[in-house]
Structures are given as C-alpha cells and as structure tokens.
C-alpha cells in the first residue's frame, strides 16, 4: 500500500516538474547577458529588462491592453451584475437555458469569434477597430464576470434584502445599499479573473489589429517572429509575477475552491 503511494507521489512530482520547469528555465534565461537566449545563462544582467521599457511598441500595446481590459471589465460588470443577480436570486422558467446563453462565449472557439467579429462588425458594418476590440473582450469576459458574481451572490443571505424591502426601501436602493456591499469581494475577484482572461487573450485580439491598435500578447507574438534575444523571457518573468500576485489576491477573496468547482 505504502509502496503504491510512494509511486504516485513520485509520479506527481515528475508531472509538476514538467508543468513548472519550462517557466523556471525561461526565468533563468531572462538574465542572460548575451543576445541569444541560453540555458543556463552565461552571466547575470538586467539589460533585457531595461530593453522592454525602451521598446515603444511594447509600452504602447501594454497601455492598450490595460485600457481594453478596463473598458471590457466595466461593460461586463454593467451587463453581468444584473444578469448574475437575476440568475441567483430568482427561480423562473427557462433558467437553465439562460445560464447556457451566458456561458456560451466560453464554448465558441475564440479564433472563430475573433474572425466573425472582424468580418461582421468591422468589415461589413465599418465599426472602428478600437470599439470592436472593446466589444470582443467584453463578450469573452462576460461569462467569467457572471459566474464569479453569481457564486458570490449564492452565498449571500437574501433575507437581509427582504428585511430592507419590508422596511420600505425600494428595490434599486436596496440593491445598492444592502446587496452590493456584501458581494464586494466577489466583484473584485470577478474583475481580476476577467482581467487575466482579457489581458492574456490572443484569439480575438489577433484579428483586431490596425494602425495604432494592437494588444500586448500580439506584440509579443510578432516580436517572437523576428527576434531571439532574451527580451521576451524578461517580459515573461514580469507577467508571471503579475499573475502570481493576482492569484494570491483571488485566493484571499474567494479561496482556491473557485477553481476546482465546475
């Protein structure tokens, strides 16, 4: 019995080595002083980190990515909070179907969504690229926003809301004064999770590029086509640090069980 367990533990360890070693290797190569990525690095230098900030395209696309996920998050919250409230507060006919509707952007292949949005919104209806990018990102963020906020609402004791209503407060005011403050941490977590989804998105953004419009991951991909220096490794390290910090915050707000529930 013990034997089998030890075998399993060893296997698990190997799998984790497979999962994490590429990320560790890439982190090590970011300190390479030479112009080509090498592992192990031939020295220690931070010059490729400096190089990121000298590349105006990286700085500009980073700004665009932040703006896109900010606008997308705002729209997704405006659309998602009422929907999440309806789905977790009330029982009504066709609830399953409505749930499926709001999950559907996860099920449609991203690359197909990106292409069809470009074809229909930009080419056929002449929507400028930037608003199309905002819209595309809102669509992919919405399911995450709704799911996280709905699960946070399902932990909320609605009898508190009933009490406020019975004391004569109107529904809208009750929502803002009583319900919303109680799901604050759920909303923050939803914003972070949707942010990560938008910030890392390639499939929609890759179609929505034009003069002065492109996102950070797309800029990384196009840099990769022509360069083999450790700049991307340095960027990877900064992105991993950002991810780690955000996961830590999500863990504080929701607990990791959010990820294991499906």
């Amino acid at each position: 019995m013990q034997e089998k367990n030890r075998g399993l533990a060893l296997f698990t360890l190997l799998v984790y080595v497979f999962l994490l070693s590429p990320l560790i290797i890439i982190a090590a190569t970011s300190f390479e002083p030479g112009t080509i990525m090498k592992f192990p690095p031939q020295g220690f230098s931070l010059k490729w980190y400096e190089n990121i900030f000298k590349q105006s395209l990286f700085m500009e696309t980073f700004k665009i990515s932040i703006i896109v996920s900010f606008v997308g998050n705002l729209l997704a919250l405006l659309l998602g909070i009422p929907a999440a409230y309806a789905l977790s507060r009330f029982d009504f006919r066709g609830k399953e179907a409505w749930n499926a509707v709001f999950i559907s952007p996860v099920l449609i292949p991203g690359i197909v969504m990106g292409f069809t949005m470009l074809k229909y919104l930009v080419v056929t209806y002449h929507l400028p690229m930037m608003p199309a990018l905002f819209i595309g990102h809102t669509v992919i963020m919405l399911p995450f926003t709704i799911r996280v906020i709905a699960s946070s609402l399902s932990n909320f004791d609605f009898s508190v809301e009933e009490a406020a209503l019975s004391l004569g407060m109107n529904r809208l005011r009750t929502f803002f004064v009583v319900v919303l403050p109680n799901i604050k941490s759920g909303i923050i977590a939803a914003v972070i999770i949707a942010f990560l989804d938008s910030f890392n998105n390639v499939e929609i953004s890759v179609f929505m590029t034009g003069p002065g419009v492109s996102t950070f991951p797309i800029q990384m991909l196009s840099y990769l086509e022509n360069h083999f220096d450790p700049t991307l490794a340095a960027i990877s390290v900064l992105l991993m640090l950002l991810t780690a910090v955000l996961i830590f915050i999500i863990e504080r707000l929701l607990g990791l069980s959010y990820f294991t529930k499906r």
Binding site: F102, Y120, G136, I146
Partner: protein, 273 residues
C-alpha cells in the same frame, strides 16, 4: 410582475451577446452557402476535395486526440493523489497548478522553444548522454505542438478532477474499506466510476481547446498548419474570406458536435453512477 422584472435584468446581456457574438456567427455561416448570389455547397465541396485542407483537418484531430488522451492518462493519477493529501498540501499543489493555468499562453508556449529547439536543452542532454547522435527535429513539428498543448491543458484537467474527487462522499470510501476492499479496489470500484462524468467534461474542454488552439501552434508549429492557424492565414494573409468562413463554420460544427455527444455520454454515466 416579478417575472417580467427578472427578464429585464438579463435582457441587456442577451442583446449584447446576440448583436456582437451570435449575429456575426450566423452571418458568417450564412455566407458560406452563397457564391455570387447563388445558393451552393461549393465552398464545402472545394474544401473536401483539396487534399491539403483535409490533411490539416486530420492533423488537427490527431494532435487534439493525443493531447486529450495524454492529459487523461497523466492527469487522473495525479488528481487522485492530490485529492487524498492533507488540505495544506492539497492547497499548495492546487495553487502550483493554477499558476500556469492563468499564465499567458504566449509565455507558456514560448518557454518550450528553448527546450525543444535544435540546439535546445533536450537535444543537448540527449546528445550529451549519448542517446542520440543527431539532434532531433522536434520544434516546429506537430509533436512540439502536442507537448505545448499538454502543458497548456494538463493543469485544467488536474484541477477539475480534484474538484470532482473531493465531492465524492467519504462515507462511500469508508464503507468500501470497512468491507475489506483494498485501496486499489476502492479506486477502481468507487472513485473511478464516480469521476467519469467529470473526466468527460474535462476531456471536452481539452479536446475542443486543443482543436481550436491558436497560440501554441503559432509559436511551436512552424510552417505546419492546424485548423486555427489555417483560418487566420486564410483570413488575414491570403485575404480569402470565403475559405476562412468555411473553416470557421466547420470548427463551430465540430465543436458543437463534440460538446453535444460528450454531454450526452456524461449524462448516461451520471444516471448509472
């Protein structure tokens, strides 16, 4: 009165998705059946007649199938092991799996270049150990794409399976153990059957995800196309919007078929289990 009020709350979201997701898709699917104003299946016939197109579709299917199988074979025992650990260790290992899951797919695909390249780590180790004389050509082949995809999706399967296994009633396991079942028998008769619906769900996500993945094949696949990179190439590089629309429709149909079939299967198991 209350009922209508509920629908008003969801209406903006529904309208948004209809306008910006559903209509573009319907518009694209519709356009594949018309050429110069005439109703036709020519777009699809053209696709199926071309050996090159069909090859891309088959390569994609093969890569996705192998990726899904590998994730199941590797992920299942790992999830089982994690689910039996103490909450502290479990939380730690879950966090370590969530980290790559939320890390940019560009970063994760890119990290394999230095390992799989011709003068990469793997080749220099294998040559150094005397296992091979010539460096292996792995980078920019479907094998590299497969490795990248397994790396991309394995955490997803592990995490969702741990969730499923945690939900198995511990009394069932205790009952089986008190009746003298060995741990392996408990696994075979209790844990495995009860995990099947979750396993099927995870497999759908991985299969559909690998079939439609764009970033990993772009970074690791080189000139060899899969269906998602082929869609991009047709739309943007070749400006062939008709072919791109046909490919997009084929991808939607396969995705919905896989989801439909597997969901049906998982329901079947759920009734039995």
């Amino acid at each position: 009165m209350k009922k209508r009020y509920v629908y008003w709350l969801m209406l903006p979201g529904l309208l948004f998705l209809t306008l910006f997701m559903l209509l573009p898709i319907i518009h694209t699917i519709g356009s594949t059946f018309f050429q110069e104003g005439q109703f036709t299946f020519e777009g699809y016939l053209h696709f199926l007649r071309d050996r090159y197109y069909v090859d891309i579709l088959l390569t994609t299917m093969q890569v996705s199938l192998v990726t899904t199988m590998a994730c199941i074979v590797v992920g299942f025992p790992v999830a089982y092991h994690i689910s039996m650990l103490s909450p502290r260790k479990k939380g730690f290992l879950l966090a370590l799996a969530i980290f790559p899951l939320l890390t940019s797919s560009v970063v994760r695909s890119f990290s394999w270049i230095i390992i799989l390249g011709k003068n990469g780590l793997l080749n220099s180790w294998l040559v150094g150990l005397g296992l091979i004389d010539q460096p292996l050509e792995i980078l920019y082949t479907p094998t590299a794409v497969m490795i990248g995809l397994i790396h991309l999706f394995l955490p997803l399967l592990i995490i969702s399976l741990v969730g499923v296994m945690e939900n198995i009633d511990p009394d069932l396991v205790k009952a089986a153990e008190s009746l003298g079942s060995s741990r392996f028998t408990v696994f075979r008769k209790v844990i495995f059957p009860l995990s099947i619906p979750g396993l099927i769900l995870g497999s759908i996500l991985i299969f559909v995800g690998s079939m439609t993945a764009y970033t990993t094949p772009t970074v690791l696949g080189g000139k060899k196309r899969v269906i998602a990179t082929f869609l991009y190439q047709n739309a943007i590089t070749l400006n062939d919007w008709n072919s791109a629309s046909v490919i997009a429709t084929i991808m939607i149909v396969i995705t919905l078929l896989v989801i439909g079939l597997m969901t049906k299967m998982s329901h079947k198991f759920r009734v039995k289990g």
